[in-house]
Subunit: 226 residues, 2 copies
């Protein structure tokens, strides 16, 4: 499903170069449940943004279901981002003046889906926020904002979910409920899921852990105790 | 040092009331190292904002070193917030168009401190960001932004540090380095430290854990293994 070949993302800062990621080669099969771990600043979000079509690599190739992403036009990319990929951002990226319900409804407006309001409401229920639908982000706790971002990523029934540290602001119990939800989506609907986490307990729920350090893949770990 | 008596914070949403916290009575002695734990949405940030003078309770009393906070004028409050309290926000609250160095320097400008640039640089070194001082927030990873927020909270040598989930976006190793730093500030300089965390491993480094649920203190736990 996802093939990365020698991916590099290099930022030019004045006369210095920051190699956010470099030399990343990676294959992800349809239906995999993978976690990505590594130190702060090691390139995890950068890699996720490239996979999620939110950023372009400086060099290297990215094939999504056999199509060379660099050759796709902007409309096709926008369509894939909206309908096929659900992205949970590390800093949520919610619209500030907009209620939780409207934030979650937004992808459904873009995809022209029927029954938007009902679907958005159900997604919020799934993450335990049925009683917070009319709150704006600044009227929500940090973990509640995080869950709105999760609900929004799920609402268009994507076949790939990319979640950048989806439980960082959640207590252990709520965090496990979210991971349980991801596991069920993966098992029952075959959704391919990659998430970045710092929590090894949570990584143990996945079937493969990719360890990243200094912008490169250090090693791949099969999780055996399934 | 800190005395809260029957603190309530209630938000009016249309004709509904949201009781973010209610009935919180709490004493914090000078030099304590305390963690606050509880489910997402249970009132931890609300409580921290009241203690940090960033928000006023709907009812109840707050005595800071014997002074009734409700009776202090705005200048005194601003002075205490700037010089005596270092606050690490759950969502960092960094200035977007400003480098890490300038973000950390800001409290020093307000307090009219000499050698600002050097002190800001040292604070960033302490959190491992010596090579990221000229990056703006959107040129930093999530965990790097979190560490800039931590550096900024320390730079004015506060005697109280309030940290709202300071390790939520940090890998285990970097998170423990930060907690180690807090422990040292507490032991060596007697700084009173309260932090919110979801990580019980991190809470075990403190000497008292306050458990919060549904806006109220459920119980106080002494940590014995010191
Ligand atoms: N726009 C940019 N310009 C310069 N450097 C950048 C930019 N964006 C990211 N970086 C750098 O690239 C590196 C990787 O960043 P990235 O956000 O991928 O890290 P991460 O692994 O997600 O970290 P964390 O766990 O802290 O979220 C970091 O060292 C960061 O400072
Ligand atoms: N301005 C507001 N208006 C209405 N309700 C609010 C407002 N701010 C916070 N709340 C509600 O108050 C409750 C407590 O919020 P708070 O941010 O203190 O939770 P928290 O314990 O910090 O949670 P988390 O661990 O998710 O950060 C939440 O249920 C939240 O929805
Ligand atoms: Mg990141
Ligand atoms: Mg909070």
């Amino acid at each position: 499903l996802i093939e990365l070949r020698d991916i590099c993302k290099i930022y030019q800062m004045g006369d210095m170069q920051v190699r956010a990621v470099c030399g990343v080669t990676l294959d992800v099969e349809k239906g995999e449940l993978i976690s990505i771990m590594g130190p702060s600043g090691s390139g995890k979000s950068t890699l996720m943004n490239i996979i999620g079509l939110l950023d372009q690599p400086t060099s290297g190739e990215y094939w999504l279901e056999g199509a060379d992403v660099a050759k796709l036009d902007e409309n096709t990319l926008a369509e894939i981002r909206n309908r096929r990929i659900g992205f949970v951002f590390q800093s949520y990226n919610l619209l500030a003046r907009t209620t939780a319900l409207d934030n979650v409804e937004l992808p459904l407006i873009y995809s022209g889906t029927k029954n938007r309001r009902r679907k958005a409401r159900e997604a919020l229920e799934t993450v335990g926020l049925a009683d917070r639908v009319d709150h704006r982000p600044n009227e929500l706790s940090g973990g509640q904002q995080q869950r709105v971002a999760i609900a929004r990523a799920l609402v268009n029934d994507p076949d790939i979910i990319l979640a950048d540290e989806p439980t960082g602001n959640l207590d252990t119990k709520t965090g496990l409920e979210i991971i349980d939800l991801f596991q069920r989506l993966n098992k029952e609907r075959g959704i391919t899921i990659l998430f970045v986490t710092h929590d090894s307990e949570i990584a143990d729920f996945t079937r493969r852990i990719i360890h990243i350090r200094d912008g490169a893949i250090e090693h791949n770990e099969r999780v055996e105790n399934q």
